[in-house]
Symmetry: C2
Subunit: 336 residues, 2 copies
């Protein structure tokens, strides 16, 4: 029956909630020095990871996160039916080159920093629907590839605005299976593109806050859930400024007493001089595939709503004076 799994406006509920049977994260030195350093699978000693370029280092980080996640279940890359991955680089080359190395059937995604949620959403539907047996969803970013692509040559040492966020050097990968041990994905909400007319590339948290609030409100409303249903609603990556705006929007939207935080706020310590916080596809990916899923494993979080957000402009459209369209996808992860 068409659309029988859709609830309300934008949400899908699963008959057979896909299980997150394994996950892994690889982060850069700065991320390792933050409050969650011991929760990641690998903390790099430098930003090149034995490669000649930052771009190739980024692809190697993604590949490493995927192989580590798969290895935890004693699988090889060839045992995986589908890889869903994306990153911030033009033409998502980090993901493309990782998919080449791993030889896993591949669907490339672009959702900017919302990519981890996007991959989990698509992956969960394709798993629940019985299309594949083992699916990996993964995302990554690298501070120095993003700086030179989106902003200035790193060597210039250009000063950042206080509202700007620090692109994380991080990768995360999740293995989905139809059954097994681990938290499962109960539902997902696919976001709409929301554009508040904001044009400041140095304050993307403010641009994305409305998309996060819209998706969270829609998710709760589609499933008729109270605002305090989840142990934690975690957006990413709004940073300090964007998440403060999101809190105001929760009040406006009548979302009562959510336990709420933001991956961009959580990843670094305040002392690490990262402006408004962390950003990048890897931020949500490593926070999920490190501290957050560990907390679920330990029973410290039982119901998590991951709402990764993406700013969907390009340097060209910003230069042309266009505003910043934003999106957020929600993934509801629960322990049995």
């Amino acid at each position: 029956m068409p659309g029988r799994k859709k609830r309300g406006q934008q949400t899908v509920v699963f008959d057979s909630p896909p299980v997150i049977t394994a996950w892994a994260s690889v982060v850069g030195p700065k991320e390792g020095e933050g409050p969650w350093g011991q929760d990641f699978d690998l903390v790099l000693e430098d930003y090149l990871f034995g490669e000649k370029t930052w771009e190739m280092a980024e692809h190697k980080m993604l590949r490493e996160a995927i192989t580590r996640a798969v290895d935890k279940r004693n699988f090889m890359p060839e045992d995986i039916d589908l890889l869903l991955a994306g990153d911030l680089l033009n033409q998502i080359v980090a993901s493309n080159f990782a998919a080449r190395d791993l030889e896993i059937p591949f669907l490339g995604l672009y959702g900017a920093c919302s990519t981890m949620s996007e991959g989990l959403s698509v992956g969960a539907m394709l798993m629940d629907g019985g299309y594949f047996e083992r699916i990996v969803a993964a995302a990554c970013s690298h501070h120095y590839t993003a700086e030179r692509q989106y902003r200035f040559p790193t060597e210039q040492g250009v000063q950042k605005a206080a509202t700007a966020q620090w692109t994380a050097t991080a990768a995360g990968a999740v293995l989905l299976e139809a059954s097994g041990s681990g938290p499962s994905i109960k539902s997902i909400t696919v976001g709409k593109v929301i554009d508040m007319g904001q044009t400041d590339q140095s304050d993307m948290g403010s641009a994305m806050a409305a998309a996060a609030a819209h998706t969270i409100k829609t998710h709760l409303s589609d499933l008729n859930l109270p605002g305090d249903y989840y142990d934690l609603i975690v957006s990413g990556d709004l940073g300090q400024i964007g998440s403060a705006i999101a809190r105001q929007l929760f009040v406006r939207d009548g979302i009562i007493s959510p336990e709420y935080s933001d991956c961009g706020v959580l990843l670094y310590d305040q002392s690490q001089t990262v402006g408004s916080g962390a950003s990048g596809c890897g931020c949500c990916a490593c926070m999920l595939c490190g501290p957050l899923l560990k907390k679920m494993q330990k029973g410290e979080i039982n119901k998590l709503l991951l709402v990764a957000t993406g700013a969907l402009m390009s340097p060209v459209t910003s230069f042309q004076g266009e505003s910043i369209p934003s999106i957020a996808h929600a993934v509801a992860i629960e322990t049995a």
Copy 2:
């Protein structure tokens, strides 16, 4: 049951083949002057389409193709559950801005020129699986946005290599529904990334030929089909040079007597000085959403295998000396 819909290595067969109930295409002046001009829904008079920039013109072309496809079934954009779209621009901004205007829940894809196949593949699985009622898959490209992003400022008038392809100014959109009148998607094959070590950005057809051949071989083998099963196997966009290589690979792979052509060869007339042929996400998209689906409607083609191919490098990775990873996804479309 996990993976119960997967056949062989990389192919999925549908219990309830999603129906292509409507489609539309919008092309530029040069594409309108080619052999299929009368088969497109709209041929633009210029490359700006009433916008101030080529980038905004490209997003408007995609939006127009989507609204026209949806309108043919008397739907409004708000009746659509999901938009799957991508393009060649950095951060797929044409798709992002179209999704913003249309306010349809959106999943952004990046598969370079393979995007139309990628969107149809994901869309068909999500439709067959009962997740959504109405899904649109769409893709676009614009000659002048691609030239200045990937090659040289258009104003320089740099001479092209004879092996180079001409990025099409074109958009195509397909509406998928669970039932109705129209050809249906019987199966899909998700591609693997294949890299032959080719580094010449001016000859992407040669780089992608092996990916096309690999996916076609895998599709036929996964479903145990003879090489002449399809009335037409159409790749895109290998161009003259790439498709000649693909034909040699069919012989090597023992694929006997396929009716084979390539969207990059078909879109323009030989007299239009387009080097090795057409390319760009919009090439396969408009060829499908114009002449090819029209031929299916008329009964001139009953079994079509669309194998859109993508070159997954970026200008940065090419500058760094990396080779061109390529991918191809196959979509089997049949009339009842």
